[in-house]
């Protein structure tokens, strides 16, 4: 078994539990029966669970656990007695003076023999990320999606033969694990005793030949060995919901080596119904359409609308899609690929839609012309204010209406019908003008942007106070004109010329 030269920790069982300051008497290194890693992607945190078999004597036993040169959070280390719980109790956990890389557990036992224990802790330096490759067919109606998970281990430690699980979700972490791992102990630092270092060295030597995967149920089991004679399938990634998160578990066990990223297929789904949509938004400062691929994270249906019988690895709608990088290709009939684009996607819940930004698309053009403009309804109001025994005429404030007439020429060069969305921003609170007469408030004193979009064929949607969206379906090679006007009700605009102050008696 390969073992990293920087062993994380050792556990020493002090059979002769002497007085507090007593040196290490006997060191036994219990074998590690199984390891489980639960890796989070929203924060730099990994939960490590280890099962070990400890030999205890009757009375009080002191067990030392040390983890020099690692990124383990000392406050997270938990010790659980898994069997003989009615006879064995954890009395306390003691952190030795001046050290933040070791602790001792005092356990009281009414029996002598072996007990199964679990050691659980958080460490930093192991992360995972999802990424996707999407290959669209030539007419962009179907997409083959392959999702990957990639595990990065920069912890400085090898986790061999470990059950590996990844959590999809954003946990709340109030303190960084790496900072907790590096936090010095309270009080003056004490030099490590030679005996403790010797014990650590002993444990290192003994560890070289240990960590035998054991029959510890979920954490033991399959082992990493693979036959060479038979063809092998990629390992399945089992997905299950857990509170607000999803847990992705890699089938069997893995060696998670230091500085050696590991990438595994998490899903491989063929023939996902694909839709292209083209958007242009003033809010995003866009001047040309951006293309988006859309598909739904729902179970795939056959031609008759029934759910296809597919395995969990080959279907959608059974787990959320974690955020990650997407690389999109288009496949020609001769199987050549063309790179379409790459982008980051957000987390997509089950049942929601995946929308991937493919990039700017020049096949659909839009030209916006200001066809006309006019100013009307000019009214001037004179404002004066009393100052002492005089009225002071400050200046005139002007009300006027300014109307702009726009024409947008939208042309699709695509060989198929396309759907577009155009979101326009106006520099005032928008009042939508329907087909009828002047909208309510037209003659009022409130400023606003009265937008007349009633000639547009598609639906118009108010996004918020100042943004309006309309939907256009375009036919191939056709030009479509969109005409609309906006009347800005300018109110109480300060004068540019008439700024002279005049005074008059009361």
């Amino acid at each position: 078994m390969n073992r990293s030269p920087r062993v994380l920790f050792f556990a020493a069982l002090l059979l002769a539990a002497g007085p507090a300051g007593a040196a290490v008497d006997v060191v036994t290194l219990p074998t590690r029966e199984g390891t489980q890693l639960t890796i989070y992607n929203s924060e730099d945190i990994t939960m490590v669970r280890e099962h070990r078999l400890l030999t205890v004597k009757e009375g009080v036993n002191r067990i030392q656990f040390a983890w020099a040169n690692t990124l383990i959070d000392p406050t997270s280390i938990e010790f659980r007695i898994l069997d003989q719980q009615d006879k064995v109790d954890l009395v306390d956990t003691t952190f030795p003076a001046g050290r933040n890389d070791a602790l001792q557990w005092n356990i009281k036992s009414q029996m002598a023999g072996k007990i199964a224990v679990e050691i659980r802790y958080f460490t930093s330096g192991i992360t995972w990320a999802a990424d996707y490759v999407g290959i669209a067919n030539e007419d962009e109606t179907k997409l083959a999606v392959t999702g990957y998970v990639r595990v990065f281990n920069n912890s400085g430690e090898l986790y061999d033969n470990a059950q590996t699980r990844m959590v999809v979700g954003n946990i709340n972490l109030v303190e960084k694990i790496a900072e907790l791992a590096r936090r010095p102990p309270p009080g003056p630092a004490a030099p490590q005793s030679n005996l403790a270092q010797q014990a650590f060295a002993n444990s290192l030597a003994k560890a070289e030949g240990m960590a035998v995967p054991g029959p510890m149920g979920g954490m033991g089991g399959m082992g990493g060995g693979m036959g060479f004679a038979q063809p092998q399938k990629p390992k399945a990634v089992v997905k299950e919901g857990l509170s607000e998160y999803f847990l992705f578990t890699i089938e069997g066990r893995e060696d998670i080596k230091d500085k050696e990223p590991k990438r595994l297929v998490a899903m491989k789904v063929a023939e996902v119904p694909l839709e292209s949509i083209y958007k242009l938004s003033d809010r995003a400062g866009e001047t040309q359409f951006t293309k988006y691929y859309r598909f739904k994270n729902v179970k795939l249906l056959d031609e008759n609308g029934k759910e296809k019988k597919l395995s969990a690895m080959e279907n959608l709608g059974l787990s959320p899609l974690p955020n990650g990088m997407v690389r999109l290709f288009s496949e020609y009939k001769n199987k050549d690929l063309a790179y379409v684009g790459g982008t980051q996607t957000k987390y997509v819940p089950i049942g929601d839609r995946v929308e991937v930004n493919v990039g700017a698309d020049k096949d659909i053009t839009i030209q916006r012309h200001l066809k006309d403009q006019k100013i009307g309804n000019v009214a001037v109001r004179q404002y004066k204010r009393r100052v002492d025994d005089q009225f002071v005429q400050y200046y005139d404030l002007v009300d006027y209406d300014e109307t702009f007439y726009f024409e947008e020429e939208v042309v699709s060069g695509k060989p198929v019908p396309v759907k577009t969305e155009v979101e326009r921003h106006f520099e005032a609170d928008v009042v939508l003008w329907g087909e009828g007469d002047q909208p309510a408030g037209w003659n009022g004193n409130a400023p606003g942007a009265y937008v007349d979009l009633h000639t547009i064929a598609g639906r118009v949607e108010r996004v918020d106070q100042q943004d309006v969206k309309y939907f256009l379906d375009l036919k191939p090679g056709k030009k479509q004109l969109v005409q609309y006007s906006v009347t800005y009700k300018r109110r109480k605009v300060g004068p540019e010329l008439n700024t002279e102050r005049k005074r008059e008696p009361l």
Partner: protein
């Protein structure tokens, strides 16, 4: 190996030798500590109580107490006789100059052993609470364990002692200088947990947060004491064991638990609920910008007795928010309704004027919207003058079915903007 600087603490009994204080010659016996209790409940001071047995002679005795390498508040030392044969009285306490020491003059009716208790305050011990919560897989109940981590940098190493760090009491076999001990102080089983999904645009404009709410009372299996401030780490039991001897748990998240008095709720932010989506938009009031505010009028009385009507410097300002609500949350594969709380921050005098809940069906040009009754799905909860919460029972949604919630609030008697300043 003991790494601390050894502290010295002892009791000396001077047998009826009356000598000048400046040059004290002591014939001493050194009684062992029989029990020690370390009490850190005060938060600022640590109280140490120790019991020792001293042999007293009939008549006057001098009991000497001195220390080194430990910061004892000299004025805090209390000496009490717990058990003795015959009457024993403390006559006076004496403080020798330039010494970390004092001695008591004790009068004993009879010769023999007496159990004395010495109590004193020391510095540089601290206790820090932390919590671990293990939630059942269905997230209905939780096992909450309170841990106290006690740091001893007092300079003194204690042998077996009882430590009372504010919550709980643990007897340890030793507690050396420089050490920290983590002790299980209290345990609450089967504590009911309420899940809350909270959207607060002032905190995060995009994400909905999931909170656990616990209540610190007997009805909710707690209520033993006010919960101190500390970090809570939450774990969840996984659904199946598959022969795993220890049921597997996953880490859910952590938060700071605020100081929680009895009967008070404790909210813990666990993580982001990515399946519950809220988008918030500022909209115009119904009817357009002309309804953005209501001008107010007030009667006007002039100095010469005339009455009229004028516009005071106040007006009512109306604002309307739109919340696009989507819920993709599932439980065992089935969509579920979730309790969503939308927090808004207001001030002054305000009311929620109008609420409209719309069901949005379809998309793009085929999209239809329909106003639906909201009485069973929506309630307004006034927290205080600055905070309001909208509680929504949000049914499951799909891509083709979502909800728009419109809430109009009217802020009343808002000062009108000042007239334009002179150029």
């Amino acid at each position: 190996m003991r790494t601390f600087v050894s502290a010295f603490l002892g009791i000396f009994v001077l047998l009826a030798v009356a000598l000048p204080a400046q040059a004290r010659i002591k014939l001493t016996t050194l009684p062992e500590r029989e029990s020690v209790r370390i009490d850190i409940q005060n938060g600022r001071y640590t109280l140490v109580e120790e019991e020792r047995t001293v042999n007293l002679q009939a008549g006057r005795n001098q009991v000497d107490f001195s220390w080194a390498n430990i910061n004892i508040d000299k004025d805090s030392i209390v000496f009490r006789i717990i058990r003795a044969d015959g009457e024993v009285n403390v006559l006076n306490t004496n403080y020798p100059p330039n010494e970390n020491a004092l001695y008591w003059t004790v009068s004993a009716e009879k010769a023999g052993p007496a159990v004395v208790r010495i109590s004193y305050l020391i510095a540089n011990m601290a206790a820090e609470p932390s919590y671990q919560g293990v939630v059942e897989n269905d997230e209905k109940k939780l096992l909450l364990q309170v841990y106290m981590t006690v740091t001893n940098t007092s300079g003194e190493s204690f042998g077996e002692c009882a430590v009372q760090p504010g919550v709980g009491k643990t007897t340890v076999r030793y507690f050396n200088d420089g050490e920290r001990k983590r002790m299980l102080a209290a345990k609450f089983a089967e504590v009911p947990v309420a899940k809350r999904y909270v959207f607060d645009a002032a905190v995060d404009q995009e994400k909905t947060r999931m909170y656990y709410r616990l209540t610190n009372d007997k009805e909710n299996q707690m209520g033993g004491f006010p919960l101190p401030y500390g970090k809570v780490r939450l774990f969840i039991k996984e659904p199946k064991a598959d022969g795993d001897v220890a049921r597997s748990q996953a880490f859910l998240g952590e938060d700071w638990a605020q100081y929680t008095p009895l009967f008070a709720p404790l909210d813990l932010y666990v993580g982001v609920a990515q399946d519950v989506k809220v988008e918030r938009f500022q909209m115009d009031p119904e009817g357009g910008v002309r309804n953005a505010f209501d001008e107010l009028t007030a009667p006007r009385y002039t100095i010469d007795g005339k009455e009229g009507v004028t516009k005071p410097l106040f007006r009512n300002v109306r604002s309307r928010m739109r919340y696009r609500l989507q819920n993709f949350k599932t439980e065992k594969g089935d969509p579920i309704t979730v309790p969503l709380t939308i927090k808004e921050h207001v001030d002054g005098q305000w009311i929620v004027e109008k609420v409209v809940l719309k069901e949005i069906l379809g998309e793009r040009n085929e999209q239809k919207e329909k106003e639906i009754p909201y009485a069973d799905l929506f309630t307004v909860k006034r927290i205080d003058v600055n905070n309001v919460e909208y509680e929504v029972k949000l049914p499951p949604t799909t891509i083709d079915k979502k909800y728009d919630l419109y809430v109009t609030t009217l802020k009343m008697f808002v000062r009108s903007p000042a007239p334009p300043a002179a150029p």
